[in-house]
Amino acid sequence: MRIALVATCLADALFPGVAIATTTLLERLGHEVVFPAAQTCCGQMHINTGYLDEAVPVVRHHVDVFDTAEFDVAVAPSGSCVGSIRHQHTMVARRAHDQVLEKRAKTLAARTFELSELLVDVLGVTDVDAYFPHRVTYHPTCHSLRMLRVGDKPLALLRNVGGIDLVELPGADQCCGFGGTFALKNPEVSTAMLADKMSDILSTGAEVCSAGDSSCLMHIGGGLSRLRTGVRTVHLAEILAATRTAGPVRPVGAIHPSAGASAPTTTKVGS
Amino acid sequence: MSSRDTMLRRIRTAVAKGAPSEPPPPVPREYHRSGEHAAGSDHVVELVIDRLLDYKAEVTVVERAGLAAAVDIALGSASSVVVPPGVAEDVRSGCHTGGRTVVVDTDPATLSATELDAVDAVVVGSTVAIAVTGTIVLSGRPDEGRRAISLVPDLLVVVLPVDRIVETVPDGLALLTPTAPLTMISGPSATSDIELSRVEGVHGPRTLRVVIVR
């Protein structure tokens, strides 16, 4: 299949390893990945903060870029971005009184998928031949859990990862407290929620906390780093992209990893 | 323009303004409109007993011939009892046993609230019981009396004929007259307002005894 990558503005700018991993993974599965380079952002920040007029040009840009690209399906390694594309873009188009944009947004949304949805529902795979020999606990982010209802898909994918020690996260369905601009507008409540999420993560003894949203991982990982817990966050895409032939993925330092370390690391082949 | 007119006009305007862009589909009713088990069937009787015991009511099951004796036992050490005007004869004689004072709550000689408070117990019939929830429904029939008498005394004895026990909430509501004064009882009164710690027996009768009659 020809799969267009929605990198997401956050991964593009701060966590490129997530988008790189998504690319790697899909190519390994034999698909062609295209990256419409003019893409920027899905607009959810503006929409969810109440700035609908300001969201219009961002949404319009997204639809323009992807609508004109040639691909079979689009994928984003982000439950929140796909949630916005699927459930909010037509609303924004209506705000702009643009019926053409609304129709285009609806069509585009129908062929845009979150990563686990793409793998399991569209490509029909739950075993991607990954290898990640670490104790991992998985946090089902609220958009994936309740808006997209991806259900068991991420866990089904993780269970098949070679070498993985997957432990269930207590209180998994509890929100981590990020909530987009909520983290800035209500930092105390956000931190209080984060404290409980971290407590649950630490109780599993996991070395890695994974999820399908870089935003939540940035929040959770930021807290885990601040408290020097020795636990790091790795995106679902990065785990699924890691393989045995690339050599074992070494965990980096317990101090919050620098940016590049969010991508799987390896000794260079041949060295 | 009266308040009523002002209000209704504003409501009409709002209803029109906020009307959905697409007309809503008809109200779906895919839920269970009735139970699977017949009224008075073994399943239903067992279920209602289970639920009654679960909320710490006391239950006995008797044949009609044993009703008087069962009422006497249910009343225990109560020395005064109020009964509704349409009380059945055997129920009434069961109340009298042991020299209890029995007051019939008849109009115009109905008891005041304070007088009712001085009575130990009350015995009433029932209109319907819902097994799934353990709910007994009173509707002010002659053998149930007005609502005050089943509320104030601390011991409530309910006589429940087995054929009045239905399975589900829809089954039960279907048998009720909407405009009657209805009381649905599903346990002794309780509160969890203090640190969510459940305390039973606040204002209503603190003891509920049910006599199921075959």
């Binding site: 966590f15 109440g50 780093s225 690339a246 | 209704l8 004064p181 509160t191």
Partner: protein
Amino acid sequence: MTTFLGVPIRRSTEPENPLRGRETFPVAAKRAVGDTQLRRNLGRATATIRAKRAAMVSEVDDWEALRDTASAVKADVMARLPELLEQLEAAVIARGGKVHWANDALEANRIVTALIKATGADEVVKVKSMATQEIGLNEYLEEHGIAAIETDLAELIVQLGHDKPSHILVPAIHRGRAEIREIFLAEMADAPADLTDEPRMLAMAARAHLRRKFLSARVAVSGANFGIAETGTLAVVESEGNGRMCLTLPDTLITVMGIEKLLPTFDDLEVFLQLLPRSSTGERMNPYTSLWTGVTPGDGPQEFHLVLLDNGRTNALADELGRTALHCIRCSACLNVCPVYERAGGHAYGSVYPGPIGAVLTPQLTGMSGHDDVNSTLPYASTLCGACFDACPVKIDIPTMLVELRSRAVDADRGHGLPGGWAAAMKAASWVMSNEKRFAAAETMSKAGRVLAGRKGRISSLPFPLSGWSTSRDLPAPPQRTFREWWRAEHGDGPRPTGTSTAADAAADAAAAGAAATPGAAGAAAGTDGPAEGTDR
């Protein structure tokens, strides 16, 4: 103000508006988050009710079908509200009751006061009623020489403690047992001197105290959970028996009911009486439900008045999305699953309707006049996690409504002077994010953050307005190469034939992007990554 045994009895200053607090949500929530007793009580309480609710819901195999019906019935009610209200009125009058129409809180208070005064009573007993809280009835009655005795235990605690309710269902959840004991000893004249703080003892003290009131009350004021248009029947759903006492013993009963509480037919109760108890207290059925229609000769109050209340409901009704908030049956399931409510408590919302439903109902009842209006912060009191939507028995889409109300809050500020900080930032971000070149340029600028991160590769302190982030969280250093830069440099456009791209190559690419991003990383040439273990914190 008395302090007893070192535990202060909180006295609120003069209550202003039951639907609008004096502080913004973030300010009030910040304080609440630090209240250890509140956090403990609320955390335990909501976890307990959540578990009970979940157990009860799982027993009902047609739960989703019931929700679908309930949602549709309520939508139908809103669509036919004028006709249904008139039908209800006629049915109540036909059975000997009287119906009054109150446009707003003040009018409702005046009507109720006049009705009470007409009986000559100077004291009334009250059944818990959110509607009467909303209009501030008790305060108004007090100003007019009428004492309103709350008979619901939690409301009694709140009343004696000169406090405000913090939860729709368990209004005194913010009070611990020791506090309640002190309140009773201080404010309840007939409380036994040896009163302990054991919940059973406290409840029995309340029983004795209230029984005298019940037996002598001549006038009662209640709310109603449901009003059946077809038959004129009203319903009160309760647990303690105080409702039954108030609804049957006095001579006169006055019921205040929001106009949205209607159901079309008696049959509709079969749906709602299954949904409400399981959703609210996590029981198959609550202990007592009373249903009455007008006046029944010889049984209960012989004078019955129904006061229909608008008080801003028509604001919500006038909006297609907003009116769904009026479907609420006040079960409080949303409060009990909300992670924000659990930590901030009800008082932080400044309204008698707190939690998720409060965040969408309160701003519609009062309107939001701009950023100076504290109620404009209510739609933001949420992470949009959606747990409330899943728990709501009538399927109110609270998250979508929150986003809609946020846009209204923002719109209320448009065109008023210079844009504030957030508005300016959002406008700038929109300009950047709607164009690839500007976006890429912004990414380049953000790499300056690598200076902030320094050798440790981590940012632990951010300037305002992002300082809220860094008070409790680190942030990674921005990468040396963004994804699009990597793609252009390493991957290129055009299909990569499968087979030539090994996982090793791809991983090495990622490592290169990462390693190059890590300043001072030892052995970067060898592809190892991250700061060496043990480097500074």
